[in-house]
Amino acid sequence: MTRLTSIPGLPPLLACLGILVVWELLARWYGLNGLPPASQALPQIPHILSDKESLIDMGESLRRMAIGYGLALLIAVPIGLWMGRSRYAAAFFNPLMMVIYPVPKAALMPIIMLWLGVGDASKTLVIFLGVTLPLIYHSYQGSRAVEEKLLWSASAMGLGGFARLWRVVLPAALPEILVGCKTGLVLALITMVTSEMIARQAGIGNIVFVSLDLGAYDTVYAMIVIIGMLGILFDVGFEVLRRRLVGWADSPHTIMVGSA
């Protein structure tokens, strides 16, 4: 017998099918109002994806996510790399991180809304906060683990302190930084949706919760599936990028998702 698991793409497909079947059966079995069967929710997806309003909403959400994530990259990676190479930087930032880490970033949303209102700025800031810590943490770990002799070799070739950080520490730490980026990507998606749940105005989260209020449960479930698909899409895209960037490194780490 040929092994089914050896066919690429088949196991995840089977898993998805399995979930759909269980969903369908459960929905039919219990007949709850709040749990429409898959066969009823899924047809909403093309409907939502062809609706101009919802597409604009999603575009808005993704734009905020991209800005929050991009800002976090620009700020967190240098800080992390710096912490890994300087004992003073580590001593300064580490306690800060410890304090901020357990705080659920989306829970800060109401406070931030007091300062910045319900608009773009608050939501982007929350996404930024949600992504920053894993990025700093992994950049820090990666930078700390850079072999001393790599830096020595570089300084013997005449690279100064900043050039070493940019041209040796950064590439050497890149596999670990990308672990942080991947965790961050998932967290960005999560905080994006939650921020819109709290500050409803526009966006993917807004569609979900407005439909929920209206009792349009098939739309709610269709949106959840769309969010899940977005997650998968990001993940696949990220893997392609990762393989191109750090194909030279040894096998990838397993990813753990922290608190949002």
Binding site: S155, A156, G158, A172, G247, W248
Partner: protein
Amino acid sequence: MIAIEGVSKRFDAARDRRHLALNDVTLSVAEGEFVSILGPSGCGKSTLLYIVGGFVEPTAGRVLVKDVPVRGPGPDRGPVFQEFALFPWKTVLGNVMYGLQQGGVPRAEALARSRELLTMVRLSAYENFYPKELSGGMKQRVAIARTLAYRPNILLMDEPFGALDAHTRTGLQNDLLHIWDKDRKTVLFVTHSVEEAVFLSDRVVMMSSAPGRIKQIFDIDLPRPRSRAELLLDRRFQDYVVEIEKMFDDTAQQAPA
């Protein structure tokens, strides 16, 4: 060229783990001289090389290179580390070209010189491989080529042939001597092999351990250019090897386990 003056190095890992790695080491190396350092494992050979390279600061004493005190690393002293320290994100060719491009050598010229060196270490076929795809001995050869590429005046080589099989090893010894004969760089060469030390060097420095210091220095008075096949039959070569090996055995026995 290199003057090591009363250099000591103490590592204070913890209060109960102070370790005097080097104790009052004084050695001067003339321009164009090839000096090997022998000694039991842990006697401070690498540490001494790091201090000359400017990577590690001595606890006492100083190192002068061309009468200027060493304050840090520089391209005049090219290290080949025991651990290779190749840039894992660069290909073999990228590693060898790195120092040249850093030094502002035009790309075409850097490429030509790097390829020439890769041919010398017999790795031309691997120029597009990444370090993780190489064997230990191949990595070591890339590391040697990478350092030779930017033409340092002084080579600081820490067991550069340690991970090689006997055949490649003797081949590279010949190549190294050949290159060295052409431009007579100053070389500090750490090795565990007495035969290798005698074959390559003008002088062999024997160190003893805990604390690491110089025990004896042997002048190797053999004609150059040297050919391995001839030297193996040469009585003087054999005598040097036997004499130093005896001393090495004594030193190793005195060394605490």
